[in-house]
């Protein structure tokens, strides 16, 4: 999401209710360095004991940004790393993304967009500390040097940052500072263990769901079984009889529906009471989605041309290619839930003219505005704390902030009482905001040397952008095509002549959202399995075939493919009998990733013995975290492949409930070993978090083809 070089600025204007105003500027702005208006004091606090507290303008939810951004700042600051602490910043203008001007964590932008910003912050603070020391010693700043939170003068006199900090804070912030050359980095590029590790291993780290306050109540909401349904009648006598229940009332929920909120002293009491509600729902007038019917409809649509995303060369060339030289593929992808381990939650206390919120938020700017809007406040009347989140993967960024809106409705009624709204796992699995269901129909004409001569591609699936209004649509929808639906195909780096891509984007009564790596989840699967099929047909090694077909300027993919060749040559051609190797690659957010997997079939399931992953992410900030993100992203990608990975609908209702019928990857489903290799680079850092996700599933089924002779075009993989 928001991966385009588009500049979005959100501001709120309270005129007859809250208005979201988003401005779209030109890409030129996006490339300008961090604004000089970021005051170091908002980001860096040097305590008297030498601890340096750095505000992190992002959500930490596993990706390691709470360590990476402090590393960048501390490096320029020459801080003593053993005394650095990273804190998640509350919602405030100063913590907005320097390019998008929204406080958010998504699109894998955190390090790419804040690298320059945090370097400058560190360098400016260092300059202020040095100038303070130089004044004290009556020497020139240039005569001083810094190391490990100490300034040294020309006579080798020294003073700790902690003893300079209060004087330094009174100095003017320098406008321009010189940044280190990469050879002078002490932290950047080195493997650094996470700052939050110990607290996550001893149970002391507080997540949003752990928030506790004096007088806190817990609320659960009974939501309609079909999106948009409304309460027709309610009998809450039994529910109200449960000890600890404080209130039961109707609340607005998504899609103009209503639900019943139960507020109680504890989660368990609220759940007991919710289970005892007797609700009759009005489900008339809302579409009852049914995935088997949708499959038929989508398949029919896929045989017709949709809104055109790309029309390069002459696609009619395809019709002149004999059937024997054509590959025709029908692909099908289900709805996918994110199921972050920490269920959704939000805590709000409303005091009439002010509110306070504790949110594991991927999108503070929007969530704060949403809460303010429901409570009739201005955003700055909502003190907004960013809480650690137990994963997210896109589930905590719906553009409508529906979790926060619902929580605010409840807090409004419970005025003066802090209320934590918690979603059960069932609420989460059935609650929507899924990766949309998709169908692809592709026809490829094979030309000379086995390379594709013509390619016609139709994609069918919901857009989560179309219908949201001008700002998002303006940025992402071009000629009726949502870029997030076709990304990975339309912008493929393969040099395919006569290339035609179109999309149908039906409206369905199922809320959809971005899911880690968004459109790449299905487009990369289609492209990389078809490319493999072409390579097999051409009897060319799959790495060599890709290198031959990639456009000459696709260096972000060429580099990792070349590295993959090097790192796998010792094992790729020597796997045991009944094992096979599959290859895939993908570029996303200017980061290229390539992957080789060794697979066998055990008990009718793919067993992934090893995965080698290579990536060009520009400059690596923390190789240890990069390795973790790539290992984890590979496993997350397998959510698409595991047998229980789909969300399906019958008569408007979700068929799955919890981790019994809906299974994400467990340890046995994951590769036993994953080795990660980063292409050495001094280019600016590019994306990381989403980039490994798209390559694993195509790599695995490409390997399976070599074992079974079958091509797998329907996910999840129900049978082999």
């Amino acid at each position: 999401m928001l991966n385009r070089r588009t500049f979005l600025r959100a501001s709120s204007a309270a005129a007859g209710g809250m208005l979201m105003t988003l401005y779209i500027d030109l890409p030129a702005r996006a490339q300008s360095p961090a604004s000089p208006t970021y005051p170091p004091e908002a980001f860096i606090h040097v305590r008297p004991d030498g601890t340096i507290v750095i505000q992190v303008n992002r959500l930490e939810f596993g990706q390691g940004v709470q360590t990476a951004l402090p590393m960048i700042l501390a490096d320029e600051l020459d801080a003593d790393w053993s005394h650095v602490v990273g804190e998640l910043a509350p919602a405030a203008d100063v913590y907005k993304d320097p390019i998008y001007q929204l406080q958010m964590t998504g699109g894998s932008i955190s390090v790419p967009h804040s690298f320059q910003q945090y370097r400058e912050l560190g360098a400016k603070m260092r300059a202020m500390l040095v100038a303070t020391a130089a004044d004290r010693w009556r020497v020139l700043p240039a005569q001083c040097r810094t190391e490990s939170s100490v300034v040294y003068g020309p006579a080798n006199q020294s003073v700790r940052y902690a003893d300079l900090a209060s004087d330094a804070a009174r100095r003017p912030v320098p406008g321009e500072v010189r940044l280190k050359t990469p050879s002078d980095f002490r932290l950047i590029g080195t493997p650094v263990r996470r700052l939050d590790s110990r607290a996550k291993c001893d149970g002391s780290l507080r997540f949003g769901i752990d928030v506790d306050l004096p007088g806190l109540k817990v609320a659960l909401v009974a939501r309609p079984p079909v999106y948009g349904g409304r309460v027709k009648s309610l009998n809450d006598r039994e529910a109200r009889a449960v000890a600890g229940v404080r209130d039961v009332f109707e609340v607005p929920v998504i899609r103009d529906g209503t639900g019943i909120a139960v507020v109680a002293d504890t989660f368990w009491m609220a759940k007991q009471a919710r289970d005892r509600l007797n609700i009759e729902w009005n489900l008339s007038g809302v579409e009852h989605a049914d995935t088997s019917q949708m499959q038929t409809r989508y398949a029919e649509l896929s045989r017709t041309t949709g809104n055109v995303a790309v029309n390069r060369g002459d696609a009619l060339v395809l019709d002149q290619i004999p059937a024997a030289d054509r590959i025709v593929g029908d692909f099908s992808f289900p709805y996918l839930a994110h199921t972050p381990m920490e269920p959704l939650n939000t805590t709000i206390r409303f005091d009439g003219d002010h509110a306070e919120a504790w949110v594991p938020s991927q999108f503070q700017t929007m969530d704060q505005i949403a809460i303010a809007e429901v409570l009739g406040l201005k955003p700055d009347q909502v003190t907004f704390h960013t809480e650690h989140a137990g994963g997210g993967f896109g589930r905590r960024t719906p553009l409508d902030s529906h979790v926060q809106r619902e929580a605010a409705s409840i807090a409004k009624r419970m005025r003066g009482t802090p209320v934590k709204v918690v979603w059960t796992r069932e609420d989460d699995v059935q609650g929507g905001y899924y990766r949309p269901m998709f169908v692809h129909h592709v026809e490829v004409g094979v030309g000379p040397r086995g390379m594709p001569a013509a390619w016609r591609h139709v994609i069918v699936g919901q857009s989560h952008i179309i219908g949201t209004g001008p700002p998002w649509e303006g940025a992402l929808v071009k000629k009726g095509v949502d870029e997030l639906v076709v990304e990975g195909t339309a912008d493929s780096r393969y040099a395919i002549p006569n290339f035609h891509v179109s999309a149908h984007q039906p409206t369905i009564n199922v809320p959809v959202a971005q899911w880690r790596s968004v459109g790449m989840t299905h487009n990369a699967f289609v492209m990389e399995t078809l490319i493999d099929e072409l390579a097999v047909r051409a009897k060319i090694d799959p790495i060599a075939y890709r290198l031959a077909l990639l456009s000459p300027d696709a260096k972000k993919l060429r580099n990792p493919l070349a590295l993959l060749e090097e790192k796998t040559k010792a094992w790729r051609f020597r796997v045991p009998r009944n094992h096979a190797v599959g290859i895939a690659c993908n570029e996303y957010h200017q980061t290229g990733v390539a992957c080789a997997v060794e697979v066998s079939v055990e008990n009718g399931r793919p067993r992934i013995h090893r995965a080698t992953v290579t990536a060009d992410v520009g400059m690596a900030i923390n190789p240890l975290t990069l390795e973790a993100q790539f290992q984890g992203g590979i496993v997350y990608g397998l959510s698409q492949l595991v047998a229980g990975g789909a969300i399906t609908f019958s008569d408007g209702r979700v068929d799955q409930r919890n981790f019994d019928g809906h299974a994400p990857p467990y340890m046995k489903d994951a590769p036993v070993a994953i080795d990660v290799h980063i292409v050495p680079s001094t280019e600016p850092p590019t994306a990381c978090g989403e980039c490994p996700v798209p390559v694993i599933c195509p790599a695995v089924v490409n390997a399976l083809f070599r074992l079974t002779g079958k091509r797998y075009r329907t996910l999840p993989l129900d049978s082999i």
Partner: protein, 171 residues
């Protein structure tokens, strides 16, 4: 199975009976007044304010709520408080003072296992239970013991490495 002190209901409010239970958690006595069916998970989190143990699914399918009950790795989301009896409970909060727990935590930190960290209390508790029983687990034993714990961040490879590291430390 005993129900501890106060096995007779003290209070009746509406249809839910509330009783007093004496629990031994991390070596300390604690008394709670709850509905007998209240899962141990929620007693730990909401009554005893020990939030290191996590709610992930409530049906015993993810392992985030794993604690040791009488030394056995147990899904606390499925264990009614009335069935705890006099078995001692150990949670993530006491692992730093447990000889195996400390080694496992240190191995986790040294291996930089955690990402979001939400499932890791349960992962660590499961690994501790494994290493208390099997000092040198094989890959297959690790996979079997850890096989019911979900990590959506996908830290499985490093979990394997950290268990191997801890096993080596424990000698």
């Amino acid at each position: 199975m005993g129900r501890g002190r106060g096995s007779l209901p003290d209070t009746v409010e509406g249809e839910i009976i509330v009783a007093t239970y004496a629990l031994t958690v991390n070596g300390r006595q604690a008394e709670v007044d709850v509905d007998p069916g209240t899962p141990l998970l929620w007693v730990l989190r909401e009554h005893l304010k020990m939030t290191g143990t996590k709610y992930g699914c409530g049906i015993g399918a993810c392992g985030a709520c794993t604690v040791l009950v009488g030394g056995v790795a147990t899904r606390s989301c499925l264990l009614p408080t009335s069935l705890v009896g006099n078995r001692s409970i150990a949670t993530i909060e006491t692992m730093a003072s447990d000889p195996v727990g400390r080694v496992v935590q240190d191995a986790w930190v040294a291996t930089d296992v955690v990402q979001c960290g939400y499932c890791q209390s349960g992962q660590i508790m499961t690994a501790v239970a494994l290493l208390k029983t099997v000092r040198k687990p094989t890959d297959a034993q690790i996979e079997q013991s850890m096989g019911g714990n979900i990590c959506r961040c996908g830290t499985y490879v490093r979990i394997r490495q950290a268990i191997a590291r801890a096993a080596q430390q424990l000698g």
